[in-house]
């Protein structure tokens, strides 16, 4: 029987088996940001270690950076301290830091791929759960904690238990107005937020074969929301064409050699899997969350489920969601009034996301009283969007056009919900308090659906607006 990509890449990066039965895994690419690294660097210092492979770690600033101004020092002195700590740490250890204003700053999971750092067959780690994004290239990419950031800095390795591999096939054709975000929300809704614990997800089938790299990144990004620490798509021509001529991608003959190797690490046709699941693309509609975790999602045409619709095991969380969201079971999700619209994040802050949102916003205007933000995922995305005139489309439609960062996805910068505001959001988490207000509420959806909600002031099926 053949081998899947996960097994090939894992075995290639295995330094040795540890006494514990875990694997000492070499990490090919380490990405670092300001929130989860300062304590890691400090531990390194306190414990007398250095950075073993400084050229395999790259850093940028994304979580705390304001998106309304690039002025330094930051108004928040603690945030400024984190910014300075990352500048100093990367200087001290000789680590490449993509500074704000360099044209290469942005959300770490947007920057890695667009610079060509993220490549097939790598192992990739970052102190951020959405590191699974990089799996879109056929890499094993996983989020780690700060002690593990220290481990990677000092040894370029992690001690990890090997997960099982589940192949998730989505076949058929997605209808118009249905996006990668809908595909992943659908998968999480069906398999549950803990369905993927202990698994790496291999996404395959016709829908993924046809997807662009940016769409694949959106799906892999949210693997962790389904409990899977790792999600990946096998590399193919789409992957190779994306990587061609990227700054850190191999060039000329090296690129051709790379492609040959990248092909070889893809899952074999007769590869073994621990589990297989299949979905039909025809069953996927524009999907919106109504609750307090990403699995509490429904098709936009559906009503908010009633308590009786849940299995006994899921009722507790459903009741908690009703209390927190103050939405009425049995009522349609369309028509739910919003206060804020947020387009951005490592899930949906790339150029194709902004293009789709702009297509909806073009010639329309944000509904009265709605605060609408567009936050490009990186400086490069921002520049590209401006070259295409998307910024003008958004500004004319009443959206705020911002600088690159994580922004209101987790609200560690000044972009926050206020009070019980409801936000139509292209981000990845609808947890209580996630967007900066302890009582703020989040409805996750695709960027096009967010734009549609912004101009209507309420949740609406984007398919009614774009034909």
């Amino acid at each position: 029987m053949g081998r899947n990509l996960f097994d090939k890449v894992w075995d290639l990066h295995t330094v040795r088996e540890l006494d514990s039965g875990q694997t000492q895994l070499f990490i090919g690419l380490h990405l670092v940001h300001e929130v989860t690294s300062p304590q890691g660097f400090q531990m390194l210092r306190d414990q007398g270690h250095s950075v073993l492979f400084p050229h395999r770690t790259f850093a940028t600033v994304d979580h705390i950076i304001p998106t309304h101004t690039r002025a330094r020092p930051l108004a928040d002195s603690l945030a400024e301290e984190m910014f300075v700590a990352l500048e100093n740490n990367t200087d001290e250890y000789g680590i490449q830091f993509f500074r704000a204003g360099s044209g290469r700053q942005g959300i770490v999971h947007v920057v890695g791929p667009e610079l060509g750092l993220t490549q097939p067959g790598m192992t990739i780690a970052c102190g951020d759960s959405h590191t699974s994004t990089h799996g879109a290239f056929g890499a094993i990419a996983l989020g780690i904690g700060t002690s593990q950031v220290r481990d990677v800095l000092a040894s370029q390795c992690l001690a990890l238990a090997r997960p099982k591999v589940r192949r998730i096939e989505v076949n058929g054709e997605l209808g118009p107005g249905i996006y990668a975000k809908d595909v992943v929300l659908h998968i999480i809704r069906k398999l549950g937020v803990k369905g993927g614990v202990g698994f790496a997800y291999e996404y395959a089938g016709e829908v993924f074969d046809r997807m662009t790299m940016e769409e694949r990144m959106t799906v892999c990004n949210m693997s962790i929301e389904g409990g899977a620490r790792v999600g990946y798509v096998n590399p193919d021509e789409t992957t190779f064409e994306y990587l061609r001529d990227r700054e850190y991608a191999p060039k000329a003959e090296a690129f051709e050699r790379a492609v040959a190797w990248w092909r070889s690490i893809a899952s074999d046709a007769d590869a073994r899997y621990d589990d297989r699941v299949e979905f039909d693309a025809a069953d996927i509609a524009p999907t919106v969350t109504w609750g307090i975790n990403p699995g509490q999602a429904i098709a936009v045409s559906e009503s908010i489920p009633k308590l009786a619709d849940f299995s006994a095991l899921d009722r507790g969380t459903a009741e908690e969601a009703y209390r927190y969201m103050q939405l009425t079971p049995g009522e349609p999700i369309t028509g739910t009034k919003i206060n804020v619209a947020f387009i951005g994040s490592c899930t949906n802050g790339r150029i194709s996301d902004l293009r789709e949102a702009a297509r909806v916003a073009d010639g329309r205007y944000v509904a009265p009283g709605i605060r609408a933000l567009v936050v490009p995922g990186s400086e490069a995305v921002r520049k590209q969007a401006e070259a295409e005139g998307l910024d003008q489309v958004f500004v004319k439609a009443g959206f705020e056009w911002r600088e690159a960062g994580c922004s209101m996805c987790l609200a560690m910068n000044p972009d926050k919900l206020v009070g019980r505001e409801i936000c139509a959001s292209s981000s990845n988490r609808n947890f209580p308090g996630r967007q900066g207000s302890p009582t703020g509420r989040t409805l996750l959806m695709s960027p096009a659906m967010v734009a549609a909600a912004a101009v209507n002031g309420k949740v609406i099926d984007v398919r009614e607006m774009v034909s």
Binding site: P38, G145, C157, A161, G227, W261, R429, F431
Partner: protein
Amino acid sequence: MSEQQAVLGSRGHGVVVRGDDIDTDRIIPARYMTSITFAGLEDHVFADVRRSQEGEPKDHPFNDPRHENASILVVNRNFGCGSSREHAPQALMRWGIRALVGESFAEIFFGNCVALGIPAVTADPSDINALMDTIELDPIQELNLDLESMTLASRIGSMSVQMPDGARHQLLGGTWNALSQLLNAKDEIVETSLRLPYIDEF
């Protein structure tokens, strides 16, 4: 505290936080992570469910004086899902938690606990419920988590608990801080890197 101390279990009072899918944003909201250290996180553990927006304490087990010395946290399913922030187990640890018992844990959170020498063991839902009930009834009873026998003893008796072998081995063997072990294989690390095509222009 030695970094390489064996963790054989934990003994102490329990505290119960009921509910499935309690995410790490809930354990420590992001706005408390604006710091270059983990110091002081204990003051903000479960901040948004422990205090009203006006700062008044709400009805929450971590506010209950009967649990102020608790060191074993008992939870339901998929505890610690979401963000990979080590701030979550750090906040719990600095508050006083030394072990967790639950129906299940999210993967990254579990790994972060191990890296701090905090065992997170699982047990059957019916056992967890019984344990929660007895702790709520008698909060100052002593619980005894033993990783050698993989049992947890309370007033209602001894129940069996589970944990992946690798993590258990790390805790019992005092290698839960994986770094020194990882660095023991420096030659192999370099050898591994050299067989990776992408390390040097394919």
